[in-house]
Every structure is written in structure tokens, then in C-alpha cells.
């Protein structure tokens, strides 16, 4: 509940309704919230949350994990019952020391140096997808390029056969539905018998993904390989450095996070390049702009819209007193359009020299594990598009996901245009 000893907080305009996001991020509402002194309170369900919308405040929350906990409650704004919370907990919903232990289990594979080793593999997949896209005269960019690129890369890292990429993209699409209001799957889809509220995203597709991860686990136990699943399975076997539950959830998180987010960046990136051919021309004229253009695309896309923290103690942020147990929700799309940090924040500008966007989180210990991988994928794609002098022409409106959590695009038709 909001504190009683102080004046009633200012209420934020509605930003949690998933349907709002069918028209894109409601930037104008967020700008209004950023201008409110202190933090604004947003009613939600039986209770509500503090809307953290300014860049500086998102940073302050992210970097103070002892006060702003990921493990009390979880990291989405909706509430979970205690048993569901435990059943659904993954790396992202932990605090130190569990977080540090789990993160170190996988961090080695995602360092800048180790991610660079995947560059050739990323390029090979990118070239194949772009060649098909151009040869066929375009089509649905999500289906042809944005979805297959990241999923094929993360599956290669995990050691999952390419033949199963389509199935895992399908599961991932169903998971995303679970963040909105509609579920198209019946509760017993994929042979699920678990109560939906105990599954990540309330989705029977989570059951299918857990099953798939378990199958991989058995295979790698029998026959180890040089891949991430083998690495995790060995950590489980070696005196339980990681539990069975933790393995299942890490596998689930890596597939989902490695797939859905970068796909969103590539989808919004294509739309931004199509809408701003002058910006794309700048990249063609100056290959040094690939790096800042990559950051700008990721800022522009902000594929993950929010993460939540829960106050572990009474505290204060931006002059607003916060009571222990209250929720704070960080809105990355807002921080990434904060006029205090970004000049002309609503402009797509490939020459920005700041990489301090918060699309990968506000700079605390949960900072995106896959950030260097995502950057590699987007930058290789830009390089290969530039090598072909490929301009994109957007045909019609995108189909967006109704979700306040992922800024997803289900489909958007694109045609290859010629060099200008």
C-alpha cells in the first residue's frame, strides 16, 4: 500500500494494460510520468507499483539489489502465489549469493572474447537467411530473418539440433502469449498436466520446453559434447553445483531470452531502417557506424519493456518514501527515451555516441547475460546487409504482441529495395 504519513502519491496514467502496446510503446504517457517529481504510483490488481521511468532512477534501482530485491516476489509486475513463485523461479528471480553462483555457471560462455568465437557461425547463418530473403523478393521479415537468426545461434551454443529450431520458435511464441491476455493453447497442450499457474508465463509451452531440456540432459549425460547443455549437466553431476530445478529453468530461460529478445531487436531495427533510409545510407557510407547503429537499434527496439524489483526494507527513491514489500517496476522503453540522457530521444539516429541505453537492464548484477551475443547478431546482420547494399521497404503495418513485457512483433512484411 502507499505510505500514509506522507501526502498521497501522484497517480501514473495507465501503462500496464497489454492492449496499449498493440500500437507500440505509449511514449507520450511515459514522458508525462517522467515529468512527475518523485515516483508516481500505478494502481494494478489489488495493489499497485511505483513506476520507475527515468534513466537515473532505473539505474539506482538496478544497482542496489540488496534493497531492491529480485527474489522477493519475482521480476514481472503481476503477482504470484508463494508456491507458484518457487515453482517458477529462475536465475532472473534470484538475489546474491544464489544469483552469483548460478550466473557463474553460464557466464563464461557469454564473455566478449568467447562470444567473438561465434562470429563466423553467426555470419554463415545470416548470409543464408539474407540470400533467401533477397532471392524470394522478400516476405515476412520476422519469419524469414528476425526469428531464425537468434534461435539458430542460441541452439548451436546449447547444442540443440538445427532441425528442432522451428519447434522451439513455436514454443517461444506461445510463451510470449502468456504475457498478454490471451492463450491460444488448451491447458493440456503438449501433454501438460501441471497447473498453469505453476509454469513460467502460465503456459503449457513451458512444460514442453522443460521436457525438451530434460531430454537434452539425458542425451548429454550419456554422451557429453562441447556445448552449454553438457557444461550444465556436468555442473549438476559434480556435487550438485546446480540443482535439477535450476538446470530446467536455466535451459528454459536461455532458449526464451536468447530467442525472443534479439528477434524483437531485429524486427524493430528493420522497420527503423526502412522508415529512415537516410540513416541506413550513413551506415553504408561509413562502416564505422555499424557499432553505434547496433546500439541505436537495440535502444530503439527496447525488446524487454519492464523488470520489477520488490523493496526489501523501507527506503527512498527520487525523494519518494517506499515501504518494505512494495513493488517498483522499471520501464526500460521510458529510460531509453529519457530526454535527460538522449538528445531528441524520439529520433532514430545511428550516429549517437552513447551506449548507455538500458535495453539490457539498468546496469546491475542481472544485466543481460546475452548482451554481447545480441550485439554480435545485430552487427553481423548490418554488415551483411551493407555488403549487399540492401535497402528494406516495409509493406504494411506490423502485427504486434499485446504485452507490457515484451515489445514483440509477430510479423512484418518487407521487400528488398535496390541501392539508392
Amino acid at each position: 500500500m502507499s505510505p500514509t504519513a506522507v501526502p498521497a502519491p501522484i497517480l501514473a496514467p495507465e501503462i500496464a494494460d497489454p492492449r496499449l502496446y498493440l500500437d507500440g510503446i505509449p511514449h507520450e504517457r511515459f514522458a508525462r510520468i517522467r515529468a512527475i517529481p518523485g515516483l508516481a504510483w500505478h494502481p494494478y490488481g489489488d495493489n499497485g507499483f511505483w513506476a520507475v521511468t527515468r534513466h537515473a532512477d532505473v539505474r539506482a534501482v538496478s544497482r542496489n539489489p540488496t534493497v531492491f530485491s529480485s527474489a522477493i516476489g519475482h521480476t514481472n509486475l503481476w503477482d504470484l502465489e508463494a508456491d507458484a513463485l518457487e515453482a517458477r523461479r529462475s536465475l532472473i528471480d534470484t538475489d546474491a549469493p544464489d544469483h552469483t553462483r548460478l550466473r557463474r555457471m553460464v557466464a563464461g560462455a557469454f564473455t566478449p572474447k568467447n562470444i567473438r568465437r561465434w562470429e563466423d557461425a553467426v555470419r554463415e547463418i545470416t548470409v543464408e537467411l539474407l540470400d533467401i530473403f533477397v532471392a524470394q523478393g522478400g516476405g515476412d521479415w520476422v519469419d524469414m530473418v528476425a526469428a531464425p537468426l537468434p534461435i539458430r545461434v542460441i541452439l548451436a551454443m546449447l547444442g540443440v539440433p538445427v532441425a528442432d529450431a522451428g519447434y522451439l520458435v513455436e514454443l517461444s511464441n506461445y510463451l510470449v502469449e502468456g504475457t498478454g491476455d490471451t492463450q491460444s493453447l488448451p491447458p493440456d497442450a503438449f501433454g501438460n498436466t501441471t497447473e498453469l499457474r505453476l509454469l513460467p508465463f502460465n503456459s503449457p509451452a513451458s512444460h514442453a520446453l522443460f521436457e525438451y531440456g530434460d531430454e537434452m540432459r539425458s542425451k548429454r549425460r550419456a554422451e557429453p559434447r562441447d556445448d552449454l547443455v553438457t557444461h550444465l549437466v556436468e555442473a549438476e553431476a559434480e556435487g550438485g553445483r546446480i540443482s535439477r530445478h535450476e538446470y530446467r529453468h536455466l535451459f528454459h530461460l536461455l532458449v526464451f531470452a536468447g530467442n525472443e529478445t534479439t528477434r524483437t531487436a531485429i524486427s524493430h531495427g528493420a522497420m527503423a531502417l526502412a522508415a529512415n533510409p537516410d540513416q541506413w545510407q550513413r551506415v553504408l557510407d561509413d562502416p564505422e557506424l555499424v557499432e553505434p547503429a547496433t546500439e541505436e537499434i537495440i535502444r530503439w527496439a527496447t525488446p524487454v519493456l519492464h523488470m520489477r524489483r520488490t523493496a526489501a526494507t523501507d527506503c527512498e527513491l527520487a525523494g519518494t518514501p517506499i515501504a518494505a514489500g512494495e513493488k517498483l517496476v522499471m520501464w526500460y522503453g521510458s529510460a531509453n527515451r529519457d530526454e535527460a540522457v538522449f538528445a531528441n530521444p524520439l529520433r532514430f539516429d545511428v550516429g549517437r555516441r552513447t551506449s548507455e541505453h538500458f535495453a539490457f537492464g539498468g546496469g546491475g548484477p542481472h544485466l543481460c547475460l546475452g548482451a554481447f551475443l545480441a550485439r554480435l547478431e545485430v552487427s553481423v546482420l548490418l554488415q551483411e546487409m551493407a555488403a549487399r547494399r540492401l535497402f528494406l521497404e516495409q509493406l504494411g503495418e506490423p502485427v504486434r504482441v499485446a504485452s507490457n513485457f515484451v515489445h514483440g512483433v509477430l510479423s512484418v512484411d518487407m521487400a528488398p529495395g535496390g541501392a539508392s
Binding site: M105, A107, G108, G361, L367
Partner: protein, 76 residues
């Protein structure tokens, strides 16, 4: 004196292997291949403003500037 060279140090227990240091200053920081824990390599010194950026960006707040490198034996 913003061009001063300063020494930096990593507090291992706080490091989560986020890789910001290696991205920003690959000649000063290296993450190990297994648990991605950062350590200082080479001379371990860099200009103060750049050191401040790394400190600012470290997600685990694990990096600090060693104010008196002589005392800790690093040749600044």
C-alpha cells in the same frame, strides 16, 4: 590532472562476469573462461576518466580505483 594514471582492482566475490570491463578496457581486464570472473591484467593502470567509466559501468560494483597504487605495490 585528469590524465593521471590510476590502478584498478576487482573484488572477486562481487564480480558476476558481466563483461563490461573487458568490453571497455580489454587491455586491462580479462574474464576467465570458466566462471567469467574478471581480473586485472598487464600494467593494470589506465587514465582516471576511463577508470571512472569502468567503475560506473561494472554491474556488480566490483571494480574500484586504488588511490595509492604505490602502497599496494603497483607501479602507477
Amino acid at each position: 590532472m585528469s590524465g593521471d594514471l590510476v590502478a584498478v582492482a576487482v573484488e572477486e566475490e562481487r564480480c558476476i562476469g558481466g563483461g563490461q570491463c573487458e568490453m571497455l578496457e580489454p587491455e586491462v581486464f580479462l574474464l576467465d573462461d570458466d566462471e567469467a570472473i574478471s581480473s586485472v591484467i598487464g600494467s593494470g593502470v589506465l587514465p582516471r576518466p576511463r577508470a571512472e567509466v569502468v567503475v560506473h559501468r561494472c554491474p556488480g560494483a566490483a571494480i574500484s580505483i586504488v588511490e595509492h597504487p604505490e602502497a599496494s605495490g603497483t607501479d602507477g
